[in-house]
């Protein structure tokens, strides 16, 4: 069964304190791995798609990397406005995105 597990469930950082979020997955035939940001009461906002091991994507303070078993979302020098829930999802053989439960990030100034 295709599965996505994110850790930690919650992460508290001080402004400027860099860290990483983990997304481990077990799927047969990965077609793409997606990172989304979700603010309270809002829908997920697309951040990145990664397709193959070794690939990296960057956007402002965020950098996503992919291996054959997991993906990391690195946050460099976070700011309070980076506080949100970060969702990882995979697409395998079908159309459905299989989501993890997310990591809720809180950044305090």
């Amino acid at each position: 069964e295709d599965q996505v597990t994110q850790s930690p469930e919650a992460l508290r950082l001080q402004e400027g304190e860099s860290s990483s979020l983990n997304c481990s997955y077990t799927v047969s035939g990965l077609r793409g791995l997606f990172w989304y940001r979700q603010d309270p009461g809002k829908g997920p906002e697309f951040l990145f798609t990664l397709y193959s091991a070794g690939e990296e994507k960057e956007k402002e303070r965020l950098k996503a990397t992919l291996t054959k078993k997991e993906s990391f979302l690195h946050i460099t020098a976070p700011k309070p406005e980076d506080s949100a829930t970060y969702l990882c999802a995979v697409q395998a053989g079908g159309t459905a995105l299989i989501f993890g439960k997310g990591t809720t990030l809180s950044v305090s100034s």
């Binding site: 009461g41 809002k42 697309f46 969702l87 459905a96």
Partner: protein
């Protein structure tokens, strides 16, 4: 701005009373999806339309139905809502179903059942 719009943002209905949630898009995307997200859980796909072709996920309860009268609009009908159907319902769209076409989400409708 092009976007995915869901109405209403909050919906309260009574146990067993049919309810319809609405989604519209200005992206002119071929595919529209409905996800259910319960509190502190991952979004779960209920079904999707590729143009007019309806595709139901195997474990979606029969209580959930959908209509897509045209490219821009898609509706989620819950025929007899139970307490377990209280959740955030997310609509998403994509140009195609390939992994190179990311899904874009609306802000959801939060459904409460009394």
């Amino acid at each position: 701005d092009a976007m995915v719009i869901q109405n209403p943002r909050y919906q309260v209905t009574q146990f067993g009373k049919p309810v319809t949630l609405s989604c519209s898009q200005t992206l002119n995307h071929n595919v529209m999806y409905w996800y259910q997200q319960k509190s502190s859980q991952a979004p779960k796909l209920l079904f999707h339309y590729y143009d007019k072709d309806f595709n139901n996920e195997a474990d979606t309860p029969d209580n959930f139905q959908s209509r897509r009268p045209n490219t821009s609009f898609c509706f989620l009908d819950i025929r007899s809502p139970g307490l377990g159907d209280a959740a955030m319902y997310l609509c998403a769209t994509s140009r195609d179903t390939g992994a190179n076409q990311p899904q874009h989400f609306g802000d959801g409708t939060r459904l409460s059942i009394l």
